[in-house]
Amino acid sequence: MLRVNNIEVVYNEVILVLRGVSLAVDDGQIVTLLGANGAGKTTTLKAISGLLSTELGEVTRGTIEFDGQRIDRLPPEEIVRLGVVQVMEGRRLFQHLTVEENLLTGALIRSDKAQIAQDLEQVYTFFPRLKDLRRRIAGYLSGGEQQMLVIGRALMARPKVMLLDEPSLGLAPLVVQEIFEVIRRINRENGTSILLVEQNAQVALDIASYGYVMENGRIVLDGPAEELRENEDIKEFYLGLTELGQRKSYREVKHYKRRKRWLG
């Protein structure tokens, strides 16, 4: 349903940050996009959601299609209304609004009152802690609670595709587990497709059915999640696993070679 075809993204009319990125997210699928800092993961999400245009970025080549409709020239607010919602990196919320007001802002694009109330209840069942904090000013929540809040807010828009940008960033492992459990439930119970950008390859590949690996503005590897989990390169660079019994120097030679292959 979501297709990114060979896009090129340029910032400030000069800086080329994506070079020929293609990916696809099918109905009800969880797809993950892995890569190091600066690889272009966030830029890819912003290209899809249209937020690129608010930062002087532009898709200069290629197309992005959602349900067969081209969306790469649309402003972000219209893309959201089609059902593609991005949860931005760094837990961006309306600090001075209460928790419940923050959630309700997510539903401002809808007008079906009864459904909105129902969805609010659903968010509270996904994240019971938010219900206890509903009257609290959002800016004072803890990091984990804020992450729950921004995911809940995205849910209030009834998205068909959710673009999640590093939901695990700076959170304790237990909280990460809790949040990913809910992401799985959102996917299963609401049938929402999810494109997940992560540094934490372990949790991402656990939850996703398909994965892409980015480096230097292009996709260098892709495949079903279980295949990626077994891939030697992924194991070494992203999962921190190395083959036992190898001599250190040998590994470093290999490391260098592999990186070279990817960067080329």
């Binding site: 959601s49 937020l51 608010t54 930062e55 002087l56 402003p75 972000p76 607010e77 959201v80 209304r81 919602v85 991005q86 931005m88 961006r92 919320l93 309306f94 600090q95 001075h96 609004l97 007001e101 309700l104 802002t105 997510g106 401002l108 694009i109 000013i137 800016g139 004072y140 807010r153 995205a154 828009a157």
Partner: protein, 305 residues
Amino acid sequence: MNWALFPQFFVTGLLNGGPIALVALGLVLIFKSSKIFNFAQGHILMLGTFTAWWLLTQAALPTWAGIGLALVVVMLMGFAIERVALRPLVGQPLLSIILMTLALSQVMQGGAILLFTAQQRRFPQLFPLEPYKLPEITIGETTVRIILKQNLVWSFVIAMVAVVLFALFFQYTRMGLAMRATAEDHQLARSIGLRVNHIFGLAWAISGVVATVGGILLASLSGLGLELSIIALKAFPAVLLGGLESIPGAIIGGLAIGAIEALVQGLPKDSTIRSMWPIAPYIVLVIALIVRPEGLFGLKRIERI
């Protein structure tokens, strides 16, 4: 100070603050949703009030129809300003946008001269001239008499009603929530699907209407001319005192400025301070900026520790 006159000065000052508060409310509305400090506020209300004057005297419409129509005109003007002058500046530094409002004020000044000439006009009386007299109170030797012009009382009442309406609007309506959200973070607002441009347009429209109501009340009190726009200069200290993001702050700031001006005027005739009453609001402004830069009710930056 003549203590028998003190209550009279104080109450008159407070009531004088009513129209200032309305203009300040308009400034806050725009600032709240877009972080733009609107230097053209005074000129918008001046044009709006001239429009009302023209409709009432030249077109000879009945009072309420004339004022209602003028408010519609101001509202359209607000939408037009957003569309023509501000939308092309989206993404530009805030300072450019603020300077644009300064430029707008000059254009409107010129427009007003072209359309209505620079002549002083008499604005039709909206309320009977007969003042309200409060019952006299005698405390010891002094007898306190308070006389209130109806105009002043009504502008005060209207200001208060406007505040309550706006507070309710922001707290309980979806549009109010959208405006508060937009005020905090434009990019985030767009990422949840809000049409930020429409919201700015609406803020400018409402702000112009509120300010024009203040302008009309002032004009019916002291006549109409190009210098009506100067009232906005008194609204600036009012909003900074009350806090740029705060609606109750705008009102309290406006009333405080009115009261302070009047009290300084009430000082004994021979004191030098008395003759300085026109700058009293700005002295308050300087003190407010030094002591409490975010204003009485402004938003403090939330810093999580």
